[in-house]
Every structure is written in C-alpha cells, then in structure tokens.
C-alpha cells in the first residue's frame, strides 16, 4: 500500500493536469482525495499478483478501416470555434518548452 497522498502530492498532480489551486483548495483537495484513496485501500491491498488486468470490457481485436480518403471539415466552420486565429491557423501564446 502506498503512502498517503500529501499536500505536495496534490500540488504535483495539479501541475501535471494544468490546474492551479489556491492554498485553501490544496487543503480541501488533499483531504477529499485522501478520503477517496483511503476508501480505495481495500482494492490496493488485495493480492492480485496472478490476476490479469482487464482494460476493456468487451474483447475485440483488429478493428480496421480501409485507407480511403473521406471528407474533411470546412476550415471556416472549424476556425470559427477557435478562441484565436491568424493566417488560417490556431493562434496560441508563446510556447515555452522543448523544441521538437
């Protein structure tokens, strides 16, 4: 069983999820998420070493589509929904981070 979720852990998770929390929210969420995880401790504690995981309820495989071009969306309709557009592209503020 893992250690209890800490306030720092919540802050880390919030950063990963791109959410910013006030100090008060951090306290509240630490308590609430901790309670849910405590509740889930029964599952975390089970010995299931020999059990295979089920990612999907219905077993299907090889669902494929033919490589045939279909219609695209109308650009004007798409861009009309965008918060900011320039030169037929989606405009975003400066990107800090790795060049790729």
């Amino acid at each position: 069983m893992s250690e209890r979720l800490t306030r720092d852990g919540v802050a880390h998770v919030a950063r990963l999820a791109r959410l910013s929390l006030t100090e008060a929210e951090l306290d509240t969420y630490t308590e609430q998420l901790g309670a849910v995880l405590d509740f889930a401790a029964d599952v975390a504690a089970l010995d299931l070493a020999d059990v295979a995981p089920t990612s999907h309820p219905i077993e299907l495989a090889n669902v494929l589509r033919p490589d045939v071009v279909g219609p695209c969306l109308d650009r004007a309709e798409v861009l009309a929904e965008a918060p900011s557009v320039e030169d037929d592209r989606f405009r975003v503020p400066a990107i800090l981070g790795e060049e790729r």
């Binding site: 990612s55 999907h56 279909g70 695209c72 650009r75 975003v92 990107i95």
Partner: protein
C-alpha cells in the same frame, strides 16, 4: 568547459575513437538511433483525412484528428500493412500489440495525449545490416501518430523569444513508425549508413517516401562515450533537430567530443535532450523542465488490440520485394566486387541494369562506373543493357574516350540508339597520337611561360599547369582527346625537355 586538446584517430575499421591529448585515454562512441518516418498511406492513422504534405493549413482535418470532444479513432488498415512490411524487412517479429496514451500538454497535439504503442509494440527484436557488414539491432518499430506543426511568430521566429505561435493540424494524426535502434553504432559514418540503409528499405517496401528535408524521416541520436574496453554504457544524451545526414554525422562527433571533454575533466554527463545547431556546429541543452516527465501511459480505451494473424504476416513476407542488402550481395557476386562497392548502384536502383550489362559481356568496373556516376536515374530505365555493354566495349577498345563515352551514354538514354551508331553520327573516333601531338605542338608554342612553369615548377605548380594544358587540348579537340593520353604525352615531353 575546460579546453582539452582532443584529437581523433583517422577512421579505422568500424570504430571511431576520440583520444585525449592530455591523458592519452582512448574513448569510443556508442550511438543508438531513433528514427521516425511517416508512412505513405492515403489517409491518416485514425481518420480518413488525407495524409498529404503541403496542403493549405487546417484543411486536412476532421473531428478525430482535431481531437474534438466526442471523436473516436479507427485504425487504418494500410498503416498496419506498411508497418508490418517495414518490420519484416527489419527481421522483426510481428507481435500482438496495443495502443497506449502518452499524456502531456502541447498545443500541436490536439488531444494533449499522443496515441502510441508503448509496452506492446507491433514489431520487436530485429536488425539491419549495413553495407560494411555491421549488424545493428532493432529493438522495436512501433506505430504512433504525428503532431501538428507550430510556426513561431514575432521575435526571432524561433521558439525561444517568439511572441506567439500558429498551429496547423494537417500533420496531426499522420501515421508514423518509430524505429528504435539498439546502441550498436560506433562511428558517425555508420550512423549515416544506417539511416541511408533504412531509407532504402523504406523506399523498397513502399512504407515511406523517407524525405528528411520534408520531415517525413526524422532522426534522433542517443550518444554516449566510454573508454575503449569498457562494457557498461555511459550516460547518454538524446540529440534532436538533425535535419540531414551531414548534421547527423557532425552532431554525433561534436557530442562525443563534448562528453569526453566533460569526463576527462572529472565532470559528469547529464542525461538530457540536446538540440543540434547546424549553424553553430554544436549541441545545446533543451530547456530543462521543472520536474521529470510523467507521461502516465495507459492503454488507449478507444482502440482495441491489434493481432495480425499468421496469414497476414505470411502474405506480407510473400510480397516482400528484394531488399537492398540482398541486391548488393547479388550484384557484388555478378560484378566480382564487395557488397559495399555495389552499394551505390543499388541505392540508385540501377543494379538490375548493371547486372544485365555485365551479363551481356560488359566490363564490370566500367559498367559500375557508368551506373554510379554517369547515368541520371531518370530515364535510365529505357537503357538497353546490351547497348551499355557495347559502349563499355568501345571504351576498352580505345575507340571512345571516357568523355566521349559519357556523351554517347547520354544520347543512348535519350534516343535508344546503339552506341556505335551514336559515336559515328557524332564524329567520335579515336584521336590518334600523331594528331594529338600536332595539337600539343601548337598549344605549347602558344603558352611558353606556362610550359616553362610546367617543366621547372614544383609538384604543386606542375599539377596545376598539367590541368591547364589538358584543358586546352580538350577545348581544341572538343573533348575528343583522351585525358589520360594527353597527360602521358605531356609528361613524355617534359622528361625530354629537361
């Protein structure tokens, strides 16, 4: 960085060593390449938008590749086919595979996760043989989706200092295969040869058009160094932004020197991503992140497992074209050369022509020379190998000079005529020595200073003036003289003169 005078030995065998001038330690480079290539499908990986480079921005998009709420991916059959072709060409085993989500935020990634094969890739455990005989292991070749394209605007136009960016999602969702090579490469030239060979395989299998300049083939290099004799791997850096084979070679060499430099001065190599700056000729660290990446991989619940049956795999194998390595071996045997020497003919896709011309009696050396250097790839397909063999025969018989042969070859490609007919029509005939002597007489007389310089100058000056006289003769004879004969005649005269 402390300046240490580093030298490297000349290329020797398979290995490229960096020798420290201060300690005398000898280091070897260890390189593993990760190559992303866009598959040559009609449509994208998970939707029916065209997979097409160069369209107007944001025109090849739909709810799926824009990551709009509610959209769902459906795997393209042809992606699987091409990925398997590539995998089998790389001697991989095709395994049941699943897609996973790699979660991180980036504006060119519409869903803010990338769908990729993580712990269960389609192709595993293969290899690729380089023309020099080196076998480079391939850990895996898995399917994943490409991102859109950011254009950085304002400021420098580069990402750092840009005021904002513009995103085009035409490329988002284009199918990629990432080929993860094992760290078996020991030389920058091997790295280049690996990419070259991979490109040849991609083209041969029709999996990709493999254009580095258009970004349909992208190479990242994991570079580390270790003292020769060490077996453990050193700490590696991943070098990105390698836009050409030249960059790849230079970046590996630079990075190896940088790392040796660090280690020799008692510092550590930090495991990081570095970007190659072609202009500056160096790698630079990427922006360091606040915390380590945590991609939270999990199985993509909107897709189902991919389990190609044995029949499908067998059909891929049966339809496999002859691969470059096999073609090199075949031509090498026909021509009596090494596979490495047959490489250019194969890479130019002219090995069939060469083999046929050799089979028709053409001298292998001359045939290969023409195939490697003189023939344009376009249109060479019309060339009759018997004619090529005949051309080589005329050359060897001294009836055509090398320059004339080239001209005749060009005409052969253009007209399909027999080389003898072309030579005759063009007035090409072997220029006899006495005619050449006459031409030389006139030229030498006309350029007395140069002649003295040729006879009495040092080697460097003589070499330069030799070229001068050969050029004059060629001009006077409209290229009909054999350069080698002219050089010999000049040398005879010089010896006689001094």
């Amino acid at each position: 960085m402390t300046a240490v005078n580093l030298t490297h030995e000349p290329i020797e065998g398979e290995h490229f060593h960096v020798t420290s001038a201060t300690t005398g330690d000898v280091w070897e480079i260890v390189v593993g390449l990760e190559v992303h290539c866009e598959l040559a499908t009609a449509t994208k990986l998970f939707c029916s938008c065209p997979n097409h480079f160069g369209s107007e921005p944001n025109t090849n998009v739909c709810p799926v590749c824009l990551g709009l709420p509610g959209s769902l991916p459906v795997l393209n059959h042809q992606v699987v086919e091409l990925a398997m072709r590539l995998g089998r060409a790389l001697r991989c085993s095709v395994e049941p595979s699943v897609f996973a989500r790699k979660n991180y935020f980036y504006p060119d990634m519409p869903k803010d996760y990338q769908v990729s094969q993580f712990d269960r890739p389609i192709n595993v455990d293969g290899w690729l043989d380089l023309p020099d005989g080196t076998r480079v292991g391939v850990e895996r070749a898995h399917i994943e989706e490409d991102t859109g394209k950011n254009t950085h605007a304002g400021g420098s136009g580069r990402i750092h200092g840009a005021q904002y960016s513009l995103v085009d999602y035409n490329r988002a969702g284009v199918p990629l295969v990432e080929i993860v090579g094992r760290p078996h490469i020991r030389h920058p030239d091997q790295a280049k040869a690996y990419v070259d060979e991979l490109r040849a395989i991609l083209l041969a299998t029709g999996a990709s058009d493999a254009k580095m300049e258009e970004g349909s083939l992208r190479v990242d290099a994991n570079v580390s160094v270790r003292r020769v004799g060490d077996t453990a791997l050193g700490t590696r850096c991943e070098v990105k932004n390698l836009n050409s084979l030249r960059s790849l070679g230079r970046a590996i060499e630079y990075e190896a020197r940088r790392q040796v430099d660090l280690l020799e001065t008692g510092e550590r190599v930090k495991q990081e991503t570095r970007h190659w700056d072609e202009g500056a000729g160096r790698t630079r660290p990427g922006r360091s992140k606040e915390e380590a990446e945590d991609y939270r991989y999990f199985q993509e619940p909107d897709l189902v497992p991919l389990v190609p049956g044995p029949e499908w795999i067998a059909a891929v194998d049966a339809a496999m074209p002859e691969l470059p390595a096999a073609r090199r071996a075949r031509l090498a045997e026909t021509a009596g050369v090494t596979p490495a020497e047959a490489a250019i003919a194969v890479s130019r896709d002219l090995d069939g022509l060469a083999a046929a011309a050799i089979g028709a009696g053409g001298d292998p050396g001359r045939v290969l020379t023409h195939v490697e250097h003189d023939l344009a790839v376009d249109g060479a397909g019309n060339l009759d190998p018997i004619h090529l063999a005949a051309l080589v025969g005329l050359e060897l018989d001294g009836k055509l000079t090398a320059t004339q042969a080239k001209a005749v070859l060009a005409e052969m490609v253009a007209t399909g005529e027999h080389p003898e007919a072309i030579a005759q029509a063009s007035g090409f005939e072997a220029m006899d020595t006495s005619t050449l002597e006459g031409v030389l007489d006139e030229i030498v007389t006309g350029c007395p200073d140069e002649w003295v310089g040729y006879c009495e100058g040092d080697d460097k000056r003589r070499a330069k003036l030799q070229g001068f006289f050969v050029g004059k003769v060629m001009k006077a004879t409209k290229g009909r003289a054999d350069g080698k004969v002219v050089t010999a005649l000049l040398e005879q005269r010089r010896v006689a003169a001094v």
